[in-house]
Symmetry: C2
Subunit: 196 residues, 2 copies
């Protein structure tokens, strides 16, 4: 075993910390929440600080911003550092609770620039959010970028509903796809599992 | 936004670091790998340092131990800090690569004391491991503990195979279930998402 205790620190790139300081505290309009997420996804491509994905955690009703996270797989050498897990994990740290739907808490919403992959679908279920907003869920993102979403349960939409998580789809789909096209044109690495 | 930059550190409890120093560097026998994982799972219950789950990453052919991780959801306030994600993430840090099946690397194996949940199934796919060893995959664990595995794709076994990940099931199932019974008897919190 290595003498150094194994540990992993999940954080955001410097540009994201600076952008977060510039954002309003509250996003009453749902479209503005997605626009902020799409902005972070594009900047993550531009700064080559991870894959072209971003996710924001907001209070569902007030629109108060908790945090926006981005994909950090390659820069942090962590295959599970997808945007959703990054955002949910950082939100849980900020709020001091592993359950974003815990007793006495406001309802929280996750806003993402595409549908969750097989892993992040499960992460959404366990996070405690009560609302998931996505720009799209069809095959177009995979066709443009080459990213693999993995095998989803056939009834993933009804599984969300059954667990009390509302799903809102198709918000700013065209703008999201434009961001993926920029990523594809950048020549950046698509990090699907097992390159070897 | 909070002025403090949001970040999250994933690490192991002190007892686990001490145990790791005591373990052999190499586990040629597959059953010994699972026995070590079951030992960590039991200790995690005993020390109340997370749920009753542990996962080890080994070189598949040599049996060299990379790391054993444990569930850290409640102590670290992180709903995705399941044993599998903890072990895979720490192994990727130790090896300096987000892909445990990357070019020039040995084949790696994940050994877990039960089948992965919906989230961890996806995490296994993206991790680059080429072998998954589990003590069981039936409903008995959920019946004993109350933990929810979530909705899995119906064909999850063949999806592993299709992606070049071998699956070995049923290794030390009875011993694993004994560990879950100890957890259930301890009265510890079952942290399924959304307590509120």
């Amino acid at each position: 075993m290595p003498i150094t205790p194994p540990r992993f620190t999940l954080d955001l790139p410097d540009w994201a910390l600076e952008e977060l300081q510039q954002l309003p505290n509250v996003f009453p309009d749902l479209k503005d929440r997605m626009a902020a997420v799409l902005h972070f996804a594009r900047l993550n491509t531009k700064h080559q600080s991870g894959g072209p994905f971003a996710a924001g955690v907001f209070e569902r009703d007030s629109g108060r911003l908790i945090v926006i996270g981005v994909n950090r797989v390659i820069p942090l050498n962590c295959s599970s550092a997808h945007a959703e897990i990054t955002a949910l994990t950082l939100a849980q740290q900020i709020l001091g609770c592993y359950d974003l739907g815990g007793p006495g808490m406001s309802a929280h919403q996750l806003v993402v620039n595409w549908s969750p992959c097989a892993m992040c679908f499960g992460a959404v279920l366990w996070s405690g959010v009560r609302s998931l907003v996505i720009a799209g869920a069809d095959a177009e993102m995979m066709a443009i970028t080459g990213f693999d979403e993995g095998p989803m349960p056939a009834n993933w939409r009804s599984e969300l509903e059954r667990r009390g998580i509302e799903l809102i789809e198709g918000l700013m789909r065209d703008e999201a796809l434009d961001g993926f096209r920029d990523f594809a044109a950048s020549g950046a690495v698509v990090y699907n599992g097992r390159q070897g």
